[in-house]
């Protein structure tokens, strides 16, 4: 266990990811303080999703390490990372569309309440009790994300906004310490975006650390404690929303080199 990691829930260390000849990430490093919201922004192709996929175990990095609560997780599989307490949502909605809203969230509880194959097949009393626990826990989550009355609808019948909330709810159901949201406001209208923002703030108030990839700058500036800017697979700036807004290299990355034309 490294000393400095006690207040940092996540530490990303000199991460590099190379796909064949394409370098998606070079020497990326940052820390994430427990209980905060950190946004990762950057132009398309900056490496944000690659970074997410490494943190959640869908890719293993070419070089470098990811530490979660002082444990190295960069060589673990996605489900092992989920069990350790990192949950995620997906940029393209990946709900289980063969299930109801409630069942989707119940799957989220998978890693927290367990029962054996044999016991569930036999339908033992303990299994029924645990199923009740899972159900009531999932209902609590639905209340939190405001989808209680739609619990019995099929997940794919929901409007886009509610599908996005459901993705967040499903991720929350695993009782994570860190939740990685991938563009939770993409494609949402203003009202829905507002709901999504307050949802993320409420998650933070529950004590869950949030990592956020988002293109909607209003959302990012409003709710983040810290912002990390990626460009071409490199961290070009890190700091509070105010610092980032006034950072010349960030402006340059987003708008091109303004000074040259002036």
């Amino acid at each position: 266990m490294k000393e400095e990691l006690k207040e940092n829930i996540l530490e990303v260390e000199n991460l590099a990811m190379v796909f064949g000849g394409l370098t998606a990430l070079t020497d990326t490093k940052f820390q994430l303080k427990k209980g905060t919201i950190k946004a990762i922004i950057g132009p398309n192709g900056a490496g944000k999703t690659t970074l997410y996929n490494i943190i959640t175990g869908f890719l293993s990095p070419t070089r470098g390490n990811v530490w979660f609560k002082g444990q190295k997780i960069s060589n673990l599989k996605p489900h092992e990372i989920a069990i350790r307490g990192i949950s995620r949502s997906f940029q393209t909605i990946e709900l289980f569309d063969n299930m109801t809203v409630l069942e989707n969230v119940m799957v989220g509880c998978h890693s927290r309440i367990k029962m054996s194959f044999f016991a569930s097949g036999m339908g033992f009393g303990t299994v029924k009790k645990k199923e009740e626990q899972i159900r009531s826990r999932a209902l609590d989550v639905l209340k939190f994300i405001g989808l209680s009355d739609k619990y019995n609808e099929m997940a794919d019948s929901l409007p886009l906004g509610e599908q996005k909330y459901l993705e967040i709810g499903r991720a929350l159901a695993s009782d994570p310490e860190l939740i990685c949201l991938d563009e939770p406001a993409a494609g949402l209208n203003e009202t829905e975006t507002h709901i999504a923002s307050s949802l993320i703030k409420a998650i933070k108030e529950k004590g869950v650390t949030v990592l956020l990839v988002e293109h909607d700058m209003k959302v990012v500036m409003n709710i983040s404690d810290e912002i990390l800017v990626l460009n071409n697979g490199q961290v070009i700036a890190e700091g509070s929303p105010e610092e980032i807004q006034n950072n010349p290299s960030v402006i340059k990355a987003y708008l091109g080199d303004v000074t040259q034309h002036a």
Binding site: T56, E94, F96, M99, E103, E131
Partner: protein, 319 residues
Amino acid sequence: MLKIQKLHIGIFAFFIISFPFVISRIPALGNYTNIMVFAGIYTIITIGLSLFIGYAGQISLGHAAFFGIGAYTSGILTARFGINPWMCLIIGIFIVSVIAFLVGAPSLKLKGHYLAMATLAFGIIVYIIFNQELEYTGGPDGMTGIPGLSLFALKLNSVEKYYFFVWGIVFAAFLFTINLIQSRTGRALRAIHASEAAASAMGINVPRFKLIVFIYSAILASLAGSLYAHYINFINPSSFDLFFAIKLLIMIALGGMHSIWGAIVGAVLITFLNYEWLHFFKEFEVIIYGAILLLVTIFLPDGLVGIPGIIKKFVKRKL
């Protein structure tokens, strides 16, 4: 979902229990109880297969082989070595579990067509072994002299006794599987079906769940194989060939893949077609099976058990 099914299960049980009594009064249908024994044996396979294919979204053309391995283990060990049939049944299950593990662990990493090809290859290899190992299996001519089963002091020596015995096992497998589906395991399997990425992000060990359900379905197939061998007392490789593997798929497609009820309905119907109703067509019966598969996949993606849902939707729209 679970609560409403109690009525269905009750009706199902009543139908199964009363079937032989009703049939025995209708001389023209005298053979139907016998056919229902085979239907029950195949249902044991399709229940497991439905979990693997319909719920977990995988595919297997290897279950005819697991069925065969169960049958031949029971056949060879009882007829050639005189070992207790129940012991052989358990040995068969053990052997099949090990083989399913060895075959499944690498091949379940494959998806779709590739998984179908891998399990198909496995099925063909096993079929060749049944044909070639003359000393033990008797080769293409098959083997005879497989004893019947007794349940403690009760000899299962009549069609009716075996019927109740087999359908009792079907019922147990059915309840076990229904329980599974409505628990964490069932949700995990359906999650894998919908999105492996999201499933693993929720902490589901995807390869492990696939393997467990593959082995479970293989065990049921092996159990069915043993019951089959002890019922007809004679086995030959043609009962376990590729065509049978495909018939198993037609059974669950016809009944409805996304429901365990479909596994039962499909297995019973195809068995009756196979043993009785299609004799008229002789060698053309293959065409009938092809037509069934074609029509069902185009018009009834949820199989026969999906029809009430379609009617409900239709009525709703009219109102």
